[in-house]
Amino acid sequence: MSLRSFRRGRLPETRRDGTGLSARVTTRRGDFVLDVAVDVAPGEVVAVLGPNGSGKSTLLGTLAGLHAPEGARVTLGGRTLTDTAAGVAVPAHRRRIGLLSQQALLFPHLSARDNVAFGPRCAGRGRRAAAAAALGCLAEVGVADLADRRPSALSGGQAQRVAIARALAVEPDLLLLDEPFAALDVDAAPAVRSVLRRVVRDTGQTTLLVTHDVLDAVVLADRLVVLAGGRVVEQGPTAEVLARPRSAFAARIAGLDLVPGTASAEGLVTPDGGSVHGTASEAVAPGEPAVAVFAPSAVAVHRERPGGSPRNVLPVRLAALEPRGEVVRLRAAASPAGPPWADGLAADVTPAAVAELGVEPGDDLWFAVKATEVSVHPRRR
């Protein structure tokens, strides 16, 4: 049984009335003031990005019903969960809000199957039905063969897959993801991220992701909300915010060059028909929406079209020079002779190289990136 059919089979009265999540939280801790409004439409995945201390965890705790801030109003699917003005505070277990955090936190005394069956059992399903549903969910995340294992016998990646199955088995109205891959080692993270992306998309799960890893947001989120100093400094479609960051923090986290398009055998095809050569870092089928990612430090800058090995060479017009510590960031705009998606790309070069090139804003330049420096990730829409 797949997750999707499991969800269809159950709870026909599920309260999805098309209103999604609407949250407004204001609270004060010493000098720090958190004042945030976040909305998530049904089926939408929104990523909240922010540095440490930006109020992300307070926001999550308030939504999950674990914190009681000074001022908050949270509605989900037409139900009021928190309203400090009216004295409403629905307890965590009646919110229908799931939580997946860094640690899998599987109940150590239960097998993987019983961990996943825990939620359906709490919802009043019979032992056998819950166990069968749990097995279906485990199969959906690719660990059905581990159903009888205890958590202590699972690897970090396996445990996090079980935790994903457990969180989705209760069909929450909202799923909260709290840096869900931060504790996984670099080898396990892409596979788990790709599983989570697939099940979230397949089930149309309304999701709020909190992260400081821009890649999580790129892969999972439709929309990005950037938090800094306790307030929303920027929000919009993921690709748009990252391509044209308007806040300092967004610019810093967007310290990666992103080129949206669709996956191809060589790497990526851009909407204008151009191509970016690179290697897929996690499973992505040709034709699927994808994004090519590379570091600005991997970009070589030339006055004339370079010869030799780089596979990705594009003409750009220099928009700005931004000094950042040891390097200078060259921010590109689209050149009439080049692809439109070059707009916003960054290249980090040494001050010596800038002097040697003698560049100024408005100059026409060439950006070159080796194919081995470009990774291709799947993305939402």
Binding site: A64, G65, L66, P91, A92, H93, R94, R95, R96, I97, G98, L99, Q103, L105, F107, P108, H109, L110, F118, G119, C122, A123, R150, S152, A153, R166, A167, V170, P172, L176
Partner: protein, 273 residues
């Protein structure tokens, strides 16, 4: 199945050398505990052992000790588990004061504990008088033995369980809540199973303490064969006139104590899953 939790170091681990001043006092300390017990074994009259530990008084005392020890352990579980939960999880004001009160029997001489119980529940005591109105007399009954043992043993369970609860933290309960578990369901299906090793070792400690209880029992329950004369009381009485009998009886308690320790140690190694 692999097990998390502490495991003894095995071949291949090279420990750092202990500084020499540690060894001498360590050996003396070990001897202080081991030599008297060994002496007890040597001193035992093995030929008459069976006869000595099966006298009427001995059998009554052993049976009474086991019954009251188990009863007070159950009482400790029923009262001490909620108490530990309150101490570990609630946000009551004055919690440190509450905790100090609960730990009082650990530092109080048991005789003093027995006397306070007598003042409270004795025929002239405030609660005792009220109970007498219903024809209930607590002191110098088997119930008094159980109450005295519970009084001295409960802190062991509470301390052990509160430690386990604090180590486990609230994170599993939070997960359970986000999965739709009510607080009672989370307690039953998550919290208690997670701290079960702590609960078991706490109960074993409480049982052992109840079994060895002397001072509070003699002050509050007296020394009546078959009703309130537990094994430690009988041993003390016998040591005044029949030393062989006392030694034989002591050996029985030592054996029970060793069994209890073995039971807890095995839990420590394999119980934390």
């Amino acid at each position: 199945m692999t097990r998390a939790g502490p495991r003894p170091a095995r071949r291949g681990t090279v420990g750092l050398a202990l500084p020499w001043p540690v060894w001498v006092p360590a050996v003396i300390g070990f001897g202080l505990i081991a030599v008297p017990v060994a002496g007890l074994v040597v001193r035992t009259d093995w030929r008459d052992l069976a006869a000595l530990v099966t006298t009427d008084a001995a059998r009554d005392a052993l049976w009474l000790s086991l019954r009251t020890g188990l009863a007070s352990t159950v009482l400790c579980l029923l009262l001490g588990t909620p108490l530990a939960l309150v101490l570990a999880r609630s946000r009551l004001p004055g919690l440190p004061v509450l905790r100090s009160v609960v730990l009082l029997p650990l530092v109080l001489p048991p005789v003093v504990g027995g006397l306070t119980l007598l003042f409270l529940l004795g025929r002239t005591g405030p609660v005792g008088q009220w109970l007498a109105g219903f024809g209930v007399t607590v002191p110098f009954s088997t119930a008094a033995v159980v109450i005295a043992q519970t009084f001295v043993a409960m802190p062991f369970l509470v301390v052990s369980l509160e430690g386990a609860l604090r180590t486990a933290g609230e994170r599993y309960e939070v997960v359970a809540a986000t999965l739709g578990a009510s607080p009672l369901t989370a307690l039953r299906r998550v919290t208690i199973p997670v701290v079960l090793p702590g609960l078991v070792s706490g109960s074993v400690l409480a049982f052992a303490r109840a079994l060895g209880e002397f001072g509070a029992t003699i002050a509050f329950a007296g020394n009546l064969q078959g009703t309130t004369q537990t094994l430690p009381l009988l041993i003390y009485i016998q040591s005044q006139n029949d030393l062989d009998g006392a030694v034989a009886m002591s050996l029985v308690l030592v054996v029970v104590a060793v069994l209890v320790i073995v039971a807890t140690r095995t839990r420590d190694v394999s119980g934390v899953r």
